[in-house]
Amino acid sequence: MADIIKLEEIKKEYGTVVKTEVLHGINLAIEESSFISIVGQSGSGKSTLMNIIGTLDKPSSGEVTISGRKTNKMNKNELAKVRNETIGFIFQFHYLLPEFTAFENVILPYRIKGLKPTKEVVERARELMDIVEISMVRNNLAPNMSGGQQQRTAIARALINNPKIILADEPTGNLDSDTSSKVFNLMRSLNKKYGTTFVIITHDRRIAEETDRIIEIKDGNIVNDITR
């Protein structure tokens, strides 16, 4: 299968006076429709890597190719469009907009495109909310939902624009073990159903063990790359 994400010689350094390099020339290719995990301890550089893959952050050097398009030379608005249409984000602290209801949060990425939600999109949002089992709280504001419900809303939101890639940063980090496995299984089934590429960043070995490929990062280098 074709590579949907390709990183070449990615370096990232922070600081202007004292420079700290957190990624030392990462090379990585991720196939379409794969379900992989990136593991590593905190401070290993895995979140920085995810921000670079997600075009939220720019590498100090190296090239990022998303879905066949080089992102290095894109301007801010082009990057925003790539993020909106190609990538769905799931964060550890769900990051729903507390001013909006669950349904409105789910539909937000579509509205960011600048389009009025069509019947089909509303239908898709309903379907996704059914799949992640949050239909009963669809009109609740984000703060009036449980942690698990919020995280599942975030998953539905990440999927609304039918992205090719979902980047999940510690998606279960904030949840109890029952809810954790429920959320994980949900992502697994969505990967099978829609063929969406999932990149899950976690420090939880048990979760990583369940994915098809484990990439281990230590001190800004890939130290292990196991495909099962």
Partner: protein
């Protein structure tokens, strides 16, 4: 754009107390502006009215030694045909001459004013200021002022004798008493028809001045210069009230400037308030802005979220402020009344001015929102996500 607007509205409605306070701030600013502005405009209108409301605002006199304006009827019809910067509300001729009254033990110097009736009523309102008797219609009928009536102890129907500077003696009949509200005029004016004054002063067909009032008093000078050009007669002199009342004008200017100063500082205070509250909102909502940007919201759309907040706050603040301001005006004119039940100060409500205040408040709010809008557009999503 629609998304930016709906996010803006959600942000405002999610922090109700904050929104209410800022709207109240703008509203108080606008109401002060509307109230003070209307009050000062009312004061000025009153002042102008009492000073020049009952006198000629543009006057044509003769620059010749004999003070005669001949052929005045054709001058009037020529002025009538002109397209003037501000419309004339009164146009009439008068023939004036100083005369003396012998009241037995002393001689009074008075001004005999031959007015054109009914045209001159538009200026002097003699018809409504007549306290007794009637308007002179015939030759040798005159009106005298309240003050002069007391001085001379004459009654309606009695005759008084006057003599002119060149010692012609005439006898005139008092047919009415006027009260112009100004003691000196009540003592010094005799009012007759033009014919009477012309005959007494031996003026022939001439008059001594042509008098005008205009609808926009502050543009009287424009009319004066246009009329002067149109007449092209070096023996005529056109003057306007503005050139003869410089003290009053500078007083009015001073008032206007102080009123504008108050309004400018109110606007600055309101704008600073909005800018600082919205700047705090950017910090409060940085998480939301970060996540929206991560999902692909453009920097420019983020700016619009804050501009729309400023705009919405401005619109609501202006509407509430105008309502407050009008309420203040109504209360002021209802409760601050003199012993006669009339309001102490007449407030003039100028809808154009009220609208202007609203537009200024709305634009100031939107401009004040630019600072936070810029800040929000510079916010990087990765910082928000990294710092949780």
């Amino acid at each position: 754009m629609k998304l930016a607007f709906s996010i803006a509205m959600r942000f405002l409605s999610s922090s109700k107390v904050q929104t209410l306070l800022i709207v109240l701030g703008i509203a108080i600013g606008v109401s002060v502006q509307v109230f003070i502005g209307s009050l000062i405009q009312g004061l000025q209108k009153d002042l102008v009215d009492t000073t020049i409301g009952s006198s000629s605002q543009v006057t044509i006199t003769s620059s010749e030694e004999d003070n005669r304006v001949a052929d005045w009827e054709s001058i009037i019809s020529e002025i009538d045909s002109l397209d003037l910067p501000t419309e004339l509300t009164a146009l009439s001729a008068s023939a004036d001459l100083p005369v003396f009254i012998d009241s037995g033990n002393r001689t009074l110097s008075v001004l005999l004013r031959g007015l054109q009736f009914p045209e001159s009523n538009a200026i002097y309102k003699i018809d409504t200021r007549l306290v007794d008797g009637k308007i002179p219609e015939n030759y040798r009928e005159i009106l005298i002022g309240k003050g002069l009536k007391e001085d001379l102890e004459v009654k309606i129907g009695e005759k008084i004798t006057i003599f002119t500077p060149d010692r012609t003696v005439e006898t005139l009949e008092v047919v009415g008493i006027f009260d112009l509200g100004v003691a000196s005029l009540n003592r010094n004016w005799l009012i007759s028809t033009i014919d009477t004054a012309q005959s007494v002063g031996d003026l022939g067909d001439a008059v001594t001045s042509i008098e005008m009032q205009v609808s926009e008093v502050f543009r009287a000078d424009e009319n004066a210069s246009l009329i002067s050009e149109a007449l092209r007669n070096p023996s005529l002199q056109v003057t306007d009230w503005k050139s003869q009342n410089e003290d009053l004008l500078s007083g009015l200017n001073g008032q206007s400037i102080s009123s504008i100063m108050i309004q400018v500082f109110v606007i600055i205070a309101v704008s600073l308030g909005i800018a600082s509250v919205l700047a705090v909102t950017v910090v409060q909502k940085s998480r939301q802005i970060g996540i929206l940007k991560a999902m692909g919201l453009r920097d420019s759309t983020t700016s619009f979220v804050f501009l729309f907040q400023g705009l919405a706050l401005g619109v609501v603040g202006a509407v509430v402020g105008i309502a407050f301001g009008l309420l203040l005006i109504i209360m002021f004119s209802t409760f601050a009344v003199g012993p006669d039940g009339e309001p102490i100060l007449s407030i003039s409500l100028n809808y154009g001015f009220v609208m202007l205040s609203a537009i200024i408040a709305i634009s100031a709010s939107t401009i004040a929102a630019m600072v936070p809008a810029r800040r929000s557009s510079k916010l990087s999503p990765v910082e928000v996500i990294r710092n949780g």
